[in-house]
């Protein structure tokens, strides 16, 4: 039916669908308010855990040894920025990546699958919600950290950091599509998602610089866009080494294109395979 609609009508329809998906996601989160509190507190708890570990090991928030690895003594600012940007990775993997499984669990997958809109429209709605939600959580985390811990991250340079984060988000959407495909193929993926989430946190410079990792692991991190977004954001704020803003912008745009194309292709393949095998609705 969509094929015989005029293009502008079709685009309008898809945009409406995106907004309705966004509305649905907001409604769902309102239905479970404890989630908002959880998302607000969880990243902060992980910062505090590392803060206390730092206090136990070096007794302050500066470390000379850390400077030899990261180019800055201030490990606390380093981990707060890492944690704030990692929120975007987590929400992309858990949000878009697990969207299908969530709808399946709620018994609404079939209704969404047969709706006369593109699947990517549905994912864009979820992605839009995830992006807005992540911005809110990251902002609150930086605010809490600036109030409670001995750091000040509410500075004007954060505008540029937000720009880099914006570029990172598109690459993460590609990662989300990839995960959606994996969910279609392997079903029960919650533990696996958690593992990937933790692994990404472990092998990227979220809480420590790449130089403390074994060389082969650090090499893997070079293929993850978060590595460049973190290096660019920290460097721009004067926390660690830095090349130039243009370098990070170009790298992130390349990641955006490659990951969205690759993620979309994997999703397409997984959907076709699941349809052939009659797996779409099975648990």
């Amino acid at each position: 039916m969509n094929d015989i609609m005029p293009l502008n009508e079709r685009v309008k329809g898809e945009l409406f669908a995106t907004l309705y998906v966004l509305k649905k996601e907001i409604k769902l989160w309102k239905r479970y308010p404890s989630r908002i509190l959880f998302m607000l507190l969880m990243p902060f708890l992980s910062i505090l855990t590392l803060y206390f570990q730092g206090q136990a090991l070096v007794g302050e928030t500066q470390s000379e040894a850390f400077e030899s690895f990261a180019g800055t003594q201030d490990y606390l600012v380093f981990i707060i920025l890492g944690s704030a940007l990692f929120i975007f990775v987590s929400t992309a993997i858990w949000g878009i990546g697990n969207a299908i499984r969530r709808e399946q669990m709620m018994g609404t997958l079939e209704s969404i699958w047969v709706a006369p809109v593109s699947k990517f429209t549905v994912f864009m709605g979820i992605a839009l919600f995830d992006g807005l939600f992540s911005i809110y959580i990251a902002f609150m985390q930086l605010l809490f950290s600036s109030i409670i811990l001995p750091v000040n991250l509410m500075v004007p340079q954060m505008g540029v950091v937000m720009g880099l984060t914006f570029l990172l988000i598109f690459a993460l959407y590609g990662l989300g599509f990839f995960f959606t495909g994996i969910v279609l193929l392997f079903k029960e993926i919650e533990d696996f998602t958690n593992l990937i989430n933790q692994t990404l946190r472990m092998i990227t410079p979220v809480s420590y610089p790449l130089s403390v990792l074994p060389a082969p692991v650090a090499f893997l991190a070079l293929f993850i866009p978060l590595t460049y977004a973190l290096e660019g954001a920290r460097g721009y704020l004067g926390v660690g080494p830095y090349r130039s803003l243009e370098y990070y912008v170009v790298i992130l745009i390349i990641f955006d294109i490659v990951m969205i194309v690759a993620g979309g292709a994997i999703f397409d393949y997984a959907e076709k395979r699941a349809r052939r095998r009659g797996d779409i609705a099975t648990h």
Binding site: S34, L45, T49, L50, A56, L57, V58, A65, M202, S207
Partner: protein, 294 residues
Amino acid sequence: MQRNGPEGGEILQRTKKIGAKEHLVVVLSIAKYELLISNIRYPLRVVSRFLGPLVWVVPFLLFGKAILGGSTSETLYELTGISHMPTFILVGTIITLVSFNMLWLMAFAIRLESFRGTFESIYACPVSKFDFFLGKLVASTIWSSFYIIGLLVLGVMFLDVQLAWSRAPDAIIIMILLFFAMFGFGLILAGTILVYKESHTILHFVDGLFSLIVPMAYPLEVLPIAIQKISLSLPMTQAVLAARNVLIRDESLLMQGTSIAILSCYIFILIPLGYVFYNYMERKAKKRGVLHKY
């Protein structure tokens, strides 16, 4: 003649009382179901279960390495008498990981069945819910044994972790006490989730909160006094403290009187309390009609 209960429903004929052997069969069947069927059906879960502990522990070690530039810390020595950071962290994280694993599998037991579509069948089975929970806990303990062995091998081979191996039986007794102490805790969480749903949120939050206040990667002394007091009342904290004393400081189990007393309190007080609480929440869920809901 049909007899009616206090809420008007028909009182069903009681099933025959079963003995300890039958209870054991139920517990082991549930454990087998949880270990084999639910994992083999989803092979990715097996990968996650084996690698999960590794990616959980390693970031603490790497962060420690990044701020120390090595593996020994004078500050840690002043606070605890232990200077080798990986040994300190590994013992703490193993005990905490095991207790979280027990808590997760027990508390999430009902919700998981609900998602799998098997809740009604299990609920209608003429077996005690507590056998069901105990079966989940046994499964979690078997998984945890793999974690413990794997992480210890990693520690000894790559991190130069040195433990008082002659104290291993003492550490096993601490783990057994922790196993039963977590049963009461798990019953309370399972009851809460039965009524309020949203198990992921509650469990992730509890997990995150305990990760912060249990002295897993740092000693209690760095926490604010009020949090130290709360932490000391938790079974995981007592198990971590006792395990460190036994395995790192080579102290005997008999010297861990406070920890054993607190863990025993959890066993003798929290299990009956958890039992009563779970039954109360189950009745509440039935009254509200939310037992089977998502």
